[in-house]
Subunit: 310 residues, 3 copies
């Protein structure tokens, strides 16, 4: 792909520093790739002959598969590496693992890691493009991009939209990436959840904090319902999943008081009956599966753009 | 591939409901693919650009590899997913996992699952083709197809042939799929094994039940020797592997009383010296490796046929 | 690829029996592939349509990835199998696993196994090419080839060079493969390490044994620093990693007394500060990453050559 004038990022580490023009460039590129993301059997040659490594230090189905499919649709070859099978279990540093991969001729590393900043560290040490597929509680840029791309498809613009991100904000890299990019694009972000699941420095984020979901429900344009990690529930941060659902779940009852055309999003995998009712997840306002399809298009766009800089 | 007139199945869930014409259509298609299954370096473009997911909830070498190779020979791209790495370990439902894969643009899902009926459940919920690679004790259609295809290659027709399926009938999905299709094609099926390893409703199956292998050995045209699961032996269903071999094993001695041209089959992996003697497994009547080669051809055929319906 | 006149080996099991001409043939072939090993996005069709199985019974990142990348650069399709997922866990013999893979149309098996001789055993039983990716303490031919290829690139010839292999010689298949080929090509090999880490029959190897690294340091042309397995340290063969580093590590201090243009090699993964100081590993004499790049070229060469014999 020819490098767009506005795009000069070899890596995609996070959305915090991307400008509105850069975000728009990603979305415009993704728009062209949507037709390849829907299973028509079409492929492009935009990354033909390139080698992409999927380096996942945390388990993942959808993100890993989505990147693999995106690479494959672009004509690239994919090498799958998991933490357990990697040399890191032999005590090698992350930097050495990365430099070794690069020496084998890798063009791009997709990395998921439990440590925030691991993708940045890599990008300082190797020439290959680094794509962050989720690092600790820091960022998960492609997930937020696909969320926002989906809103843009339905509304044209993010300007002035009210977006509620509901759930465990403290431990969510998806929330963080969404917050940065939504703000950059002019949306107004509400974070909703119990005080125990808010980050300690939440007042420094460009968001409105809300502990009472019902008080804002009728004015939101978008609900982005985060997955409740059962570990959190068990750790007594919250008394029970039933209690959680009653107070912060997107139930059928709550939907009755929401805007008719409210957009219902979820990054998956869904806990049906906990953070979202089954009927709502499968209902007409839900974009959950559309998000998944857009995820392939967004990842194709990000790969092609980062590759174009070299 | 152009859809044959007789073929209208988008999925392959089992053989019970397939007609003789449909089975013959699979075999005729596989005949054309045999030349790609033998390692000549040739590939076709019949599934070019299509995405196949190998979704295995039980470990498998040969079936998983065979499907992956078949897809690759057809020019498709393959995404490998295992249960442990999948979102199912995060509590997602099978239906949600499948719908997510489909939203990523998957054209075909090859699924192995410990629950009988899991492939059917999937087929009710997604548009992609579902190929059953073994579900519980229910069916394992491609294994039976490759078994019967191998017999057809050697004898031309199944009509009137006497086929003994020997071993743990109760827990064998391979046996079930063979029973249905062999009957449809006019063969006469004998199931041989101890009463403890017969299904409770065996009298409702279109088979002759036999507990004395020696009494029928000289009149059979085919022996299909099932693998003895060591778990069964340990669970006291059978006293010892030696005892099993003595009563139900295909030994050198038993082969002396069999028809000269009897066909010796085994779905693998073999327990040498238990259900089959080493000399017999490697002997001139054995089609064990031929079955493996035919497995690739059969899977290519099934993939191409199911894809042709869309 | 057209078979070179000198090359008649369908398998690569070890370097012990390869002649200088055969080794040179591999290096000359690899020279042509170096341009594909560096990440330029170029691929060849030399193994187009061929099926390569990566059959690893021991974990590995770099060797497994390097073979997968080499196969991919040659246009081949790769099937990844691991021991745990394979039928071997169901009690199948290695020979049966291999013959089954072959029946599926596999052209080449890359095997790593904890038992010395496993690749040889395979080669006796199947028609596909067998490439040894490390077997027990026996050989790891492609690692030694890439080591020596790297020296040849820098010095033109191996004739008369003094090469020190430092560390746990007893348990190193890398050392053994290097020793055979370096001797064949006219280099003089020194093995350096404590008596407890020397093989019992070391006096039968064509090497000079040395227990005092410092005594030879100034006359060596190449240091090949083996990885210290932490298991060895723990098993009391050596008192501590610090002690090891002091006596056998390639420290900054030792480098001051080495030849100015000495070549510093390591098969990886590196234990920084144990067998090699960080500065030395990253310093101007180090060829560690060059070795990794050359590994892809060497594996492409070996695959193409072995395939050309059929």
């Amino acid at each position: 792909m020819k490098k767009p004038k506005i795009w000069n990022n070899k890596h995609l580490l996070g959305l915090k520093k991307l400008s509105a023009d850069e975000l728009t460039c990603i979305f415009d590129t993704a728009e062209n790739y949507v037709k390849y993301a829907g299973g028509t059997g079409q492929k492009t040659d935009d990354l033909k002959g390139k080698l992409v490594v999927n380096l996942f230090f945390e388990d993942s189905t959808r993100t890993r598969s989505s990147f693999a499919i995106a690479a494959s649709r672009l004509g690239a070859d994919v090498i799958e590496l998991t933490a357990k099978a990697s040399s890191l279990s032999k005590g090698e540093t992350l930097r050495d693992t990365a430099r070794n991969l690069e020496a084998m001729g890798i063009d791009m590393v997709v990395i998921r890691h439990s440590a925030g900043g691991a993708p940045y560290l890599l990008s300082q040490n190797i020439e290959a493009s680094i794509l962050n597929a989720g690092d600790g509680y820091h960022e998960h840029p492609t997930q937020a991009l696909l969320d926002i791309f989906t809103i843009r498809q339905l509304r044209g613009s993010l300007e002035g939209l009210k977006v509620a991100i509901v759930g465990d904000i403290a431990h969510s890299r998806v929330a963080r990436s969404n917050i940065w990019a939504l703000n950059t694009l002019g949306a107004k972000v509400f974070v909703v959840g119990p005080p125990t699941l808010m980050p300690s420095a939440v007042n420094k984020l460009p968001v409105t904090v809300c502990h009472d979901f019902d008080s804002i429900i009728s004015e939101m344009d978008v609900f982005n319902m985060l997955r409740v990690q059962s570990e959190r529930i068990k750790s007594q941060v919250f008394p029970s999943t039933r209690e959680y659902s009653r107070i912060f779940g997107l139930t059928n009852n709550r939907m009755k008081r929401a805007k008719k055309d409210v957009i219902v999003m979820h990054p998956g995998p869904i806990n049906r009956g906990v953070e979202i009712d089954s009927d709502v997840a499968d209902g007409p306002n839900s974009t959950i599966l559309k998000q998944v399809t857009n995820g392939v298009a967004i990842r194709m766009a990000v790969m092609a753009l980062c590759d174009s800089v070299k």
